[in-house]
Amino acid sequence: MPTVRLSFTPAPVHVRTARLVGVAVARRAGVAEELLDEVRQAIGEACSRAVALHLRYGLSDLVLMEMSDTPEYAVRVTDRAPVIEAVRNLPDADVLGISPDGEPADGLSEEAVAAGMALALLTALVDDLQVRPAAEGPGTEVRMTWPVWRPTR
């Protein structure tokens, strides 16, 4: 069972709230201070990806972010968009859109570039990243974990 659960309407402004909550819960769970920038970035990327998918498909469903702090800090972000989209967006050289001469591929929209960057950042920043179809209904869940440091008392 998650310790804290945040649901929000798919609007960009709420991604800021999600970052704030995700980092606050991480800090209290005992994630090391020097990892918190990465936690902030990864949560931001996972949530803005979910919001972008909902907006693209005109879905008003809430985006769900669940956090648990035992045995490690785990965050799961669930969207409700058709799964095909999530799979198409898995990171590869094409999606990243950097051609061999170091220039972004010309045909890609800013949105496509951003989606590629989001997944590049997620895979690089999160050691333990899982992307899979949501347990129930349509949608994808992005699951990320970070180690926690527990004081012995």
Binding site: D37, I98, G102, E110, A118, A124
Partner: protein, 117 residues
């Protein structure tokens, strides 16, 4: 925490100083401003990210878009960035190979060998 944007001219360069969080919520405002500048005739554009506290993939997408737009118009986009967390993001996304990154506005304007990377 919110986005701040201010523009000034240094030599023949247009310097856009950006502060706060550039994310999915504020990136549209950065895009708008960059389009305005290019539409207004700016060709040598320096985006100073020195006061940026957070930059997400949406912000990166906007910067890539501006880079392409300027290149198509025969201009250049340079970035000023020294904070390690931001530089790390450019490295992870391989965008450090796309953008001209500088330590200071002056070195960006001079276009000299003082590039951060």
């Amino acid at each position: 925490m919110d986005l701040s944007l201010s523009t000034r001219t240094v030599a023949d360069h247009t310097v856009l100083q950006v502060g706060g969080e550039v994310d999915v919520y504020t990136a549209p405002r950065l895009r708008e401003r960059l389009i305005e500048l290019v539409d207004g005739g700016a060709r040598q554009v320096v985006v100073d990210l020195g006061a940026v506290e957070f930059l997400d993939s949406t912000g990166l997408g906007v910067l890539v878009g501006a880079h392409k737009r300027l290149r198509a118009a025969g201009g250049t986009l340079s970035l000023v960035c020294t904070r390690e967390p931001l530089l790390k993001i450019f490295r992870i996304t391989a965008l450090d190979q796309v953008f001209r990154l500088f330590d200071t506005v002056n070195s960006a304007v001079a276009g000299d060998a003082g590039a951060a990377q």
